[in-house]
């Protein structure tokens, strides 16, 4: 498999105006230099052709920012993004619509009702990227839209309806049809099922899995639901406070997590089967503030049940502990520690 997307040291900082909410931000607010919120703070990974890579983490860890950077909806502060070998990192999000790669990287948004234009019929929603990016017209347009609708199992008679006339599951299908209508190579899915009931979620997950097998589109799948990620993805990235703390094959990460944070995330998932409930590893408290986050220590140290003095003095580098399994922890679980 060749690399479709290669990301290295990608960063997105937001400048913070300290004159607002001064007392909340921290004790070091007397300093006059500008502060930065480190939303994505040096992330590197790659996605191969037709591979599904999952991204998990708590809210506020930078999942959505990272997915928007990859979708070229946001400008990165620094770092490189190579798509099919070409550097697209520095291209401004505003002008990316003119880029030939625009149709190759498409996104499915989180909330189908909020992300669809209420004045667009289902047909127009799906046709919009075709019209704008491929300049498809007339009968060609009709047949492409119908094909996309068919691919996601949306009955043709629903194409004339507007978002408020459709159910959550149907809207989710339209969101996916819109994204795949221009034959992308990479689909970025930001929590595509989080607003759906389990019964509909199961249908959409099956649809996404089948679609990938048929079309060989690569997925970058963002979710806070680890069970969902495990079902869809080949590989998983675990993100914490702007950085990736663990990356590896999905089935292995779920069975043998090496980072205490990954372990805590997994053991926090409720399980129906009592036999699968393991001893809970609880992490209390909340992540550090992402504003001017310290660079010389482990960011998880404050919440880590296994914290040692080294964790507060030195930033753990990302290292490969097993083939294709990377972890950023001084004392990975199951390796050199019980």
């Amino acid at each position: 498999m060749s690399s479709l997307l290669e990301v290295s040291d990608l960063k997105k900082f937001y400048k913070v105006d300290r004159s607002l909410g001064r007392e909340k931000i921290g004790s070091d607010n007397r300093r006059s230099r500008a502060s930065f919120l480190h939303a994505v703070d040096g992330v590197s990974f790659s996605v191969s052709e037709s591979e599904a890579v999952g991204l998990v983490g708590e809210s506020g860890c930078g999942k959505s920012t990272l997915s928007r950077l990859l979708a070229k909806l946001l400008d990165a502060t620094s770092g490189s993004v190579r798509f099919c070998g070409d550097e697209i990192g520095p291209i401004a999000a505003d002008s990316f619509t003119e880029n030939p790669y625009r149709s190759n990287i498409q996104m499915v948004f989180q909330d189908p009702i909020d992300s669809l234009n209420p004045r667009f019929s289902a047909f127009d929603v799906i046709a919009d990227p075709l019209r704008r990016l491929k300049h498809t017209k007339g009968q060609m347009l009709d047949s492409h839209v119908e094909a996309a609708a068919r691919a996601v199992g949306l009955p043709g008679e629903l194409l004339s309806r507007f978002p408020h006339q459709l159910s959550g599951g149907q809207l989710a299908r339209i969101g996916i049809a819109r994204a795949i209508s221009v034959n992308p190579k990479l689909l970025i899915l930001d929590e595509p099922t989080s607003s759906l009931d389990v019964s509909i979620q199961a249908i959409i997950l099956k649809l996404l899995d089948g679609l990938r097998r048929q079309t060989k589109i690569a997925y970058f799948f963002v979710s806070h639901d680890l069970n969902v990620v495990r079902l869809i993805c080949d590989r998983v990235l675990v993100m914490y406070l702007g950085i990736v703390v663990e990356a590896g094959p999905a089935d292995i990460i779920f069975r043998i997590p090496h980072h205490p944070y990954t372990k805590a995330l997994i053991s926090a998932i409720p399980q129906i089967d009592p036999e699968l409930r393991e001893i809970k590893l609880r992490v209390d408290g909340e992540p550090l503030s992402p504003i001017d986050v310290p660079q010389d220590r482990c960011r998880f140290a404050e919440r880590c049940p296994f914290v040692a003095s080294k964790c507060r003095l030195e930033r753990p580098p990302m290292r490969e502990v097993e083939p294709a399994h990377w972890v950023a922890c001084h004392f990975p679980l199951g390796i050199g520690r019980d």
Partner: protein, 324 residues
């Protein structure tokens, strides 16, 4: 069912909403008991009537709602027959609610400490200083690191998990007998969810509190509840002790719902789906069993006459003419 020890007994409860687009038959003859000291889960998809059930118990239904039949006995008194004043003495004090979106449920322009004091002072005869002390103690009980500082903060200064702790502190501040937790952890991270649920369980045990956990997450209910009520489109489908429900689901809907929930070992090909969707509750011609149109085991009898609830085991009830 008629359980003599039941703290709360809901019997034959039907609720309708009169809306511009028609009559919504939100609850259809819902009955279940809650015994003192247990945590009972009410699960179902959206539109199953879980929240309407909770709101009916708490007496906070929308004015467009009409309770067309049934009774809700709380400590052997029918809540539905109580007048406003008598009811307010119970609701909020002996019976309290944790809402789904803590950030919306809390007052945005009042410090959270004062909001807890308001509840305490409305329901007890404590003085201001005593109420303040109680608020402090409650914040400590929900494991907030610096209660004194936290009391002065506004909801927007707190994270979702912290706001939910405030809601719990508020709900438990008057030592309620019954806690209604309506999706208390929806929208929170799994790690925070685990901590918040631990807190509810732990405090519940300590205070001898009974709880109704309303959730769409079958796995969460499986982990936290003693018994589970499965609802669909305003009807109770099945009631059973948790282990029994998952070991031996009798209603086709329960089995489908369980199989549609992604687990840690299953493959996507094993993931089941629930066909169709919840019927429009405004329809005139709703079948007696509202799951019938989605059910693969539907027979002619399903469309004739009401569906009786039958006992199929110890504390295990199912409302299905062709149970598994």
């Amino acid at each position: 069912m008629g359980n003599a020890q039941a703290l709360l007994a809901i019997d034959n409860l039907s609720v309708e909403f009169r809306t511009r687009t028609g009559l919504v038959r939100a609850l259809d003859r819902v009955s279940f008991d809650v015994s003192a000291g247990e945590i009972i889960g009410v699960v179902g998809e959206s539109g199953s009537g879980k929240s309407v059930t909770a709101y009916t118990i708490a007496g906070i239904l929308d004015p467009s709602a009409h309770i067309t039949s049934g009774r809700i006995d709380f400590q052997s008194r029918d809540l539905l027959k109580l007048g406003g004043r008598a009811r307010r003495q119970i609701c909020g004090r002996q019976l309290s609610v944790i809402f789904q979106h803590p950030r919306i449920a809390l007052n945005q322009i009042r410090p959270v400490g004062l909001q807890i004091e308001d509840v305490v002072r409305a329901h007890t005869s404590l003085t201001r200083a005593e109420a303040q002390r109680r608020a402090f103690d409650m914040l400590e009980a929900v494991k907030i690191a610096d209660p004194q500082h936290c009391m002065q903060l506004y909801p927007f200064q707190l994270s979702g998990g912290m706001c939910q702790r405030i809601m719990i502190a508020m709900a438990l501040s008057c030592n309620p007998r019954l806690l209604l937790a309506d999706e208390p952890t929806t929208g929170l991270d799994v790690t925070t969810q685990a901590v918040i649920m631990d807190l509810i369980q732990e405090l519940g045990k300590k205070l001898g509190m009974t709880a109704i956990l309303i959730t769409h997450d079958l796995a969460l209910a499986a982990e936290r509840c003693d018994r589970i009520v499965v609802m669909h489109a305003g009807q109770v489908m099945e009631i059973a002790p948790t282990a029994e429900l998952f070991r031996n689901p009798m209603h086709p809907y329960t089995r489908r719902l369980g199989a549609a929930t992604p687990g840690p070992v299953s493959d996507i090909s094993e993931l089941d789906i629930v066909p169709g969707s919840v019927p429009d509750l405004r329809r005139q011609n709703l079948p007696p069993c509202r799951y019938a149109e989605r059910c693969e085991r539907r027979i002619k009898e399903c469309d004739i006459g009401p569906v009786p609830r039958v006992a199929v085991g110890r504390d295990h009830f199912v409302a299905c003419k062709r149970a598994l």
